[in-house]
């Protein structure tokens, strides 16, 4: 009797194509990656159905949220290195703090911050990873010492000087923040005749 022999199939698959795809994806992700930076003031944004994106350049973001101690704080961030440098120069001149060239370069690479101008030097001197832990007290916005107003004024002027463009302002508020706090920021903006600004939100569907 003739036995039917089963043909043995090779168990090794050809991985070449899979390898190609994997590396293609890998290249894509490496090139598009902008690493997440730990935020100095984490904020839980409310969501909306709006589909418009935040602009990339010529943008200042005012973050309002509660710190670890439960007090609301205001942080400020400007996008664009040149504008940041120019703004820091302007603020230094206004508040009588001198910033070295090194400080300016570091400041240009930083993200949001929330300290009075007098303490800004210390924050700049910190390492990037320590800044988030530094427990920054927030930018003063009282009527007596309204530094947010000055920051806005100086950065808008810097944007016009450098790019000949009006700086866009975005408000990034914590969802649980109470309305009067937001109103205060809007009033500061409106005092400078900024009547149109962006509210940064997350996304959600229309069914809620």
């Amino acid at each position: 009797m003739a036995k039917i022999k089963m043909k043995k199939k090779s168990t090794s698959t050809d991985m070449t194509a899979m390898c190609d795809v994997a590396f293609l994806l890998l290249t894509f992700f490496i090139l598009t990656a902008t690493a997440k930076v730990p935020e100095a003031l984490p904020v839980d944004m409310p969501s909306s159905t709006v589909q418009s994106k935040l602009p990339d350049a010529d943008l200042a973001i005012i973050t309002i949220g509660k710190g670890d101690d439960g007090k609301s704080k205001v942080f400020f961030d400007i996008k664009g290195r040149e504008i940041r440098k120019r703004t820091l120069e302007g603020m230094g001149a206004k508040f009588g703090v001198t910033f070295s060239e090194d400080d300016k370069t570091k400041f240009a690479l930083m993200d949001d911050f929330g300290v009075p101008v007098a303490n800004l030097k210390q924050i700049i001197a910190l390492k990037a990873s320590d800044r988030a832990k530094a427990n920054q007290p927030g930018i003063p916005i009282d009527s007596l010492d309204n530094q947010l107003k000055e920051w806005l004024l100086v950065s808008r002027r810097a944007a016009i000087d450098l790019d000949n463009k009006e700086l866009q302002i975005a408000i990034k508020g914590d969802a649980k923040e109470q309305y009067p706090q937001i109103k205060k920021i809007m009033d500061i903006l409106q005092d400078q005749k900024i009547n149109s600004f962006n509210l940064v939100t997350g996304t959600r569907g229309k069914d809620f």
Partner: protein, 184 residues
């Protein structure tokens, strides 16, 4: 495929010395593993999606001297008050002689959205009957001190969803309104 014919078996009758061909197939499994690991890492650390932003334009704060205050037909106004703990109260027209409400309502598609859409339609009918079909509803949003930022964004979002073009944020309350929204 990247595979070469190796061992031809016998042959070689001519007695030529052939160097033994080695199998050129490389095991790529480990490489693929590594590639996918890196992909996963980059996918998780990338923030691909930029946050959304909602445009908000407010009227000028200091009224111009020569500006005449615009009188608005009270039949077209809907007032929405945002209170503490996600509470909303709305009414149509004037509070003393309301067309509808004042009534408690919730956020979302079954609450405020349905109401806004209904009112929008009836106001358009009312305007059409008056011969000015372009005049739509005017929504006055009144956030109290206890309402949160989420409430404000939610209600602005509702305006965008239901296509209300005219709305205003007015954080001013008459004593009657305060009694309604914040009873002590």
């Amino acid at each position: 495929m990247a595979e070469l014919n190796t061992g031809d078996g016998g042959g070689g009758k001519g007695g030529k010395v052939r160097s033994k061909k080695q199998n050129s197939k490389v095991d790529l499994t480990a490489m693929v593993d590594l590639a996918f690991l890196l992909i996963t890492f980059f996918m998780l650390t990338t923030s691909l999606s930029k946050p959304q932003s909602m445009d908000l334009s407010l009227p000028d704060k200091d009224p111009k001297i020569d500006e005449v205050p615009v009188k608005v037909d009270e039949n077209r106004t809907m007032t929405v008050m945002l209170g503490a703990n996600n509470k909303i109260i709305y009414y149509m027209g004037l509070l003393a002689t309301p067309i509808a409400g004042p009534k408690d309502i919730t956020y979302g598609k079954d609450g405020i959205r349905r109401e806004v859409l209904k009112r929008k339609k009836s106001v358009l009918e009312y305007s059409a009957a008056k011969g000015k079909p372009k005049q739509g509803i005017i929504v006055i949003i009144k956030p109290t001190k206890k309402s949160t930022y989420r409430n404000l964004v939610d209600i602005l979002d509702e305006m965008a969803i239901s296509g209300v073009e005219t709305y205003a944020i007015v954080p001013e309350f008459s004593p009657e309104e305060t009694k309604l929204i914040d009873p002590k």
